[in-house]
Point group: D2
Chain length 304, copies 4
């Protein structure tokens, strides 16, 4: 039995015109672009979606528009991570109404908390949630690298699965090993290059930011892993590595993944590259480099 | 010319009955307790105030009640740190209306940002603020240890001063040295034990969490430093060290400062010790230890 | 063309009777045990070999005895990492005389150095080396995570390859990608579980501590990866994971890998488990647990 | 009763002509320069002395020459920190013979060890030492920030005191507080700017690298702190801060303290600025800046 949630679930960027205005046309194009590429679900309002930089009102509007556009063609999960439990619950209700299928929770990210404090947080939050939930491990942003015990605690509270963006593959393997007898608990990697590793060891999929730009590439990469088609994996891996070495290598700070993806999508004429504060879109020099990188990537992708 | 903001400005705990209900009577008692102790100002909705764990609505109510109770007897500064610029601006407007004198800004705390991104954030936020602002350096929570250049950038944008909670005294001395020719720029330490060091080297005061419990002790400590009364400093330092070794040493995690202070205030019958999720108040065993610690501290304080 | 150095090269533990006496009989048994298991080379005086805890005299004696026992049946590489360049050079001469085929260099590990300082160190050291050398990336111990540029600099100076013990698989993939056109530059992982990942992406082998205990298992694991035999990989991976969850999980500190391996070898009656200060061998309770773990592992290995 | 060891004890730089040749004339001048400045003792072969980069033979020669030159005019303590207990003991014997009064021990610095492993290390090492010992806390280099319990364990084994170079003043105050009833246990700071803080809170002195260049300044700074002469402290503090902002601010890496000090001493014509690998002396551009800085410092020091 395959897990309900599996495959490539892109963390959707939030196309913006300004800090409080959506690029609605861009959003439509972006969703159709990804669905045409065969993605298995969509994750709204994650780190790539700049969720924490947006007002709740804008987030709600975004989820409604996105869910309308998606029209139940694939499952939709939406981030409700916050530092305030009331706000997480409010978001969960709004997003349920808007059509979300599940919500995503990472540790509250201001106070550095312990594993036991994360457990008591889940104990307080989860029973009040109107939708099923995923866990999201993102230690570089939340300061907590959730232990296997904490993840298991969440699973016992009903978690559908976990997205791990720690970059620590040994940890991901340990999770897969720990939960191998509960295959309905989905394990996703947030590190694109590790998709075959994740799938072949028993994981379920990837929340791959690169699928905003190149959804078909990542779906093919995932399917090659499912089929254990090593030649294809090897071929596609070069493309994924090239994205990593180009698109994600233009900026200098942690923001380079989000800004690189937005700039690439703008160069591809899919949506606007405005980034909410504290980020700012790439300047002209960086954009020019991105244009060349995208050109090169597109030429290669034709032949695959 | 003395800086407008100086002396002991406690980061006020937020007395709660539940995650969304204030302990209003406790709040009144707490404010009167601190004002009776001679504090020079009050800082609402900081880390000790569990700001990020509370809904905006509750925060607004809290600021209104607190400002009413304070009645302009001392200056009031209020934290508006957030990950979303719109929400920071909304809070600033609300708190101005409620009677705040200035707001406090730390780096947005989800995305790990660079110094240059902090500068562009301030550049976007500050011109829209309806009140003067303080900077708040809190690298353990926000992931950014603001450089002297970033602090100077904020000062040029009009910052009234900075509260440094890095615990890095060499950094604080470097700030004092850097800004010695602009004495109207206030430099506060967030590390209680460093009050004499800060004052004697040219700093202006302290945001001292312990002043929630023992305001007079911290005011005396500050004034002894202003007077360069080393015998008194030495005597009071032992008390401050004892708080550190007892009240702040009951819990095991980073939350031990906030939870210890709330528990102590409850033992002292000043306000409720409910803590908002992800925190939880101390259990009975910890509370019993706290009771003994407070008893011992009170006995010593009588003789000072 | 296959790289000269490839396959499973165990980092040999140094069997001791005391801080300055070797367990010579144990050393013979250990070497024969590993060679019987089909290992492709041996790495003496690495981290697992407690090199830095031993006197130069003892190290020299150890290398001589080991090389005699090995008798050129497989290539031998020996660590000369030190904080003093003269001592590294002295060791290199001694070990050449003793029969070593190459030496291994990690960054000098007392002063935290920069990438450029590592390059100038290599520039000063390498031309004086009497033997070819490998690079060893071990950031948790040396404080320097060598950049791809630094590794390339070493390669240009003649490095035969690199052992990466950072645990950062993305970094290892980046190295493999960077050096894919110079396949004579060998890339080894120091993380046992990543052997198939390393081999299938174009790496050359592993410096696997577990091969002290179970050499055949790791050789089979490597060969399955070379053959792309996924069923076998999957089966063997469970065994490797079990070692990780048992043998390496008895101790509590970073030393748990070395102490676990030594204790297991002692339980298997291969060599003594004395560990040089600052380490100390496991106590009886831990040893009893180890006995049970080894029993369980042996039973499983019979059926593979 | 004053502790045997107190005051300003410079960590002496090791004047070199090459990686294995001492600048003997420079060493004589350096020692006379410091003794003329009134220093209370000398610490040979510490971090500033590049001990770990030098061969044991060179270290022994250096200690002999230095002790001869010092001729018992002040106490001499010598670092024996190593990763191998035998080598530490050999050094201790040599240095005793050469005339050292005590040795200095930091945690062995290759394997990341725990507090309990540090205790068992001391338990194994200390009973064999031929001289009394100091502890040296240097977490940035050794990876272990020794707990108060570990320091107390060392004290019970007979430690004469501790030098703390963590830069964490709260920790230093905690040590002073903990050991206030055993004033014969000396507490030294390794952070120059904290000399008055250390002395006025009950500490005993400083291992101040800057006293290689400006011994009288640091002795005056110490004595002003002993006298509680705040005007003088304030004046001298500006000088110390200026050294920090100039001499120590020329280099870019952790090595900037050692290289800055050596370059300054060379500019002052006291000794050669050769630095042992992995370090290299400053280039001409940096040296030119140093020349100007030293000129400015000397002009100011005349008027103090």
């Amino acid at each position: 039995m395959r897990a309900l949630f599996h495959g490539i679930i892109p963390p959707v960027v939030t196309p913006l015109l300004s800090n409080d205005a959506l690029d609605e046309a861009g959003l439509s194009r972006l969703i159709e672009h990804m669905l045409a590429g065969g993605v298995h679900g969509l994750f709204l309002l994650g780190t790539t979606g700049e969720a924490t930089s947006l007002s709740y009102k804008l987030r709600e509007k975004f989820v409604k528009l996105a869910c309308n556009q998606i029209g139940k063609r694939v499952p939709v999960i939406v981030g409700i991570t916050d530092t305030c439990i009331e706000d997480s619950l409010n978001m969960a209700s709004c997003y349920k109404e808007a059509g979300a299928d599940a919500v995503v929770i990472a540790p509250p990210y201001y106070i550095p908390i312990s594993q036991s404090e994360m457990m008591q947080y889940l104990e307080g939050l989860v029973p009040q949630l109107p939708l099923p939930f995923f866990l999201y491990n993102m230690p570089g942003y939340t300061k907590l690298h959730m232990s296997v015990e904490t993840v298991n605690f969440a699973r016992e509270l009903g978690a559908l699965g976990i997205k791990d963006s720690s970059g620590d593959l040994m940890y991901l393997y340990t999770l897969i090993d720990k939960f191998k007898d509960t295959p309905e608990f989905s394990i996703f990697t947030g590190t694109e290059i590790f998709i075959p590793e994740t799938i072949m060891h028993g994981g379920h999929g990837a929340v791959a930011g690169g699928a905003n730009m190149f959804p078909r590439l990542f779906v093919d990469y995932y399917e090659a892993a499912v089929r254990k088609d090593f030649e294809q994996i090897s071929l596609l891996r070069q493309m994924v590595m090239q994205i990593y070495n180009t698109v994600y290598n233009v900026g200098k700070h942690t923001s380079k993944y989000t800004l690189g993806t937005k700039c690439a999508l703008s160069v591809m004429e899919i949506c606007n590259d405005y980034a909410a504060l504290p980020l700012r879109k790439f300047d002209d020099e960086k954009r020019a480099r991105m244009q060349q990188y995208i050109q090169e990537l597109k030429e290669k992708l034709v032949y695959i």
